[in-house]
Symmetry: C2
Subunit: 214 residues, 2 copies
């Protein structure tokens, strides 16, 4: 596909634009300028136009964007016109927080399973979900037809777990473990490193200049 | 300062490079090529050289980078040669997970306070920390000489809390609330939106092509 080489940062901005478009839609706004969208998303209208131009021609000169049409296009581009079945690999405190994170469900991501190796956690009930034994990972993935895995383990066991996920056919992973994972071609891993996010702030404090909001 | 306009994505990569340099340092490696660093960080050697070129001239042609010297430079650039005092605004499940996140302390970020408005949470002990009343936010910030706030509240109260943080002199914030915050010039806000991270995966699944790892 044409859009295969789009940078993660562009995809993230599209997801942010979609949030604001849906907000404008709720408020009954029919059209929106790239300036208004840019200002809400903390970027420039040139960036908005450039981001959208990868995917086609949206909006009309002088008339702005059709809010509902662009929101619908972005949902399609982001693959949000279907639901995804998600497993939490690791059932510690961060996993317990994520399972309660209402926005996941609202955006189409259903956490349907969780596993851990700690006998003290296995069998714990989280709402409708019961924490399973990581020894049964392959069976659980097959049973729940998992699309996406969220890895919330320490660094050490992460790669071995990822190898098992890959072997079980899971091709998309969100990794919170502080380690660079190796996966074959055709598997996507996105890393969330919360300490790195804090380091963008220590950098900003150190180089105090213009405020940065992304 | 010259480096004021560096993109967040560059700063994030510098933080990732630093992690690998420290790992190589632990293994007793004295020098490292930009190719090796790029391969570990999932980027290209051209990108590594470009990222570093913003800050000066590192490495020697054919000899690579001096691991310890470059790590030390990056710590300085990222503002990591000091410690930071952090407050959690909101003491729900995600906050409880963050307070246990060992990497924060290891990178110089000490969570020294937490506040909530829920009487059921106020007074709860988390290790050495006791959850305070958000009504006392200003006093707690002054008492603990807070450098950075991590906002882990629902969307609704977030802006009012940020206004109070700004008025109390907090100039750096990591925001988990799903809302775009408005802050004055000179205050930095970085947004972490975990649903957006999942949407980079649904995008990847929708546009299955080359694997992406950042």
């Amino acid at each position: 596909m044409l859009s295969r080489k789009i940078a993660d940062s562009t995809v993230r901005r599209l997801a942010i634009y979609l949030r604001f478009l849906e907000e404008f839609e709720e408020h009954g706004e029919a059209t929106l300028s790239s300036e208004a969208l840019a200002s809400r998303a903390g970027t420039t209208s040139a960036q908005v136009r450039k981001d959208l131009s990868f995917f086609g021609s949206f909006g009309k000169r002088g008339l702005g964007y059709d809010v509902s049409a662009l929101a619908s296009e972005l949902r399609g581009i982001l693959g949000l016109n279907r639901r995804y079945r998600v497993i939490l690999v690791g059932a510690g405190r961060l996993a317990a927080a994520l399972v309660q994170y209402a926005e996941f469900g609202a955006r189409g991501f259903d956490i349907v399973a969780a596993v851990d190796k700690d006998p003290g956690r296995i069998g714990t009930r989280w709402g409708e979900l019961v924490v399973g034994d990581v020894a049964d990972l392959e069976t659980i993935i097959r049973h729940h037809r998992i699309d996406i895995a969220i890895l919330v383990t320490p660094a050490d066991p992460a790669q071995a777990l990822v190898d098992r996920l890959v072997a079980s056919g899971v091709t998309a992973m969100l990794n919170f473990a502080p380690v660079q994972l190796h996966v074959p071609h055709g598997t996507d891993v996105k890393n969330v490193n919360l300490a790195v996010e804090l380091e963008t702030l220590s950098y900003a404090i150190r180089h105090r200049g213009a405020p940065a909001q992304r």
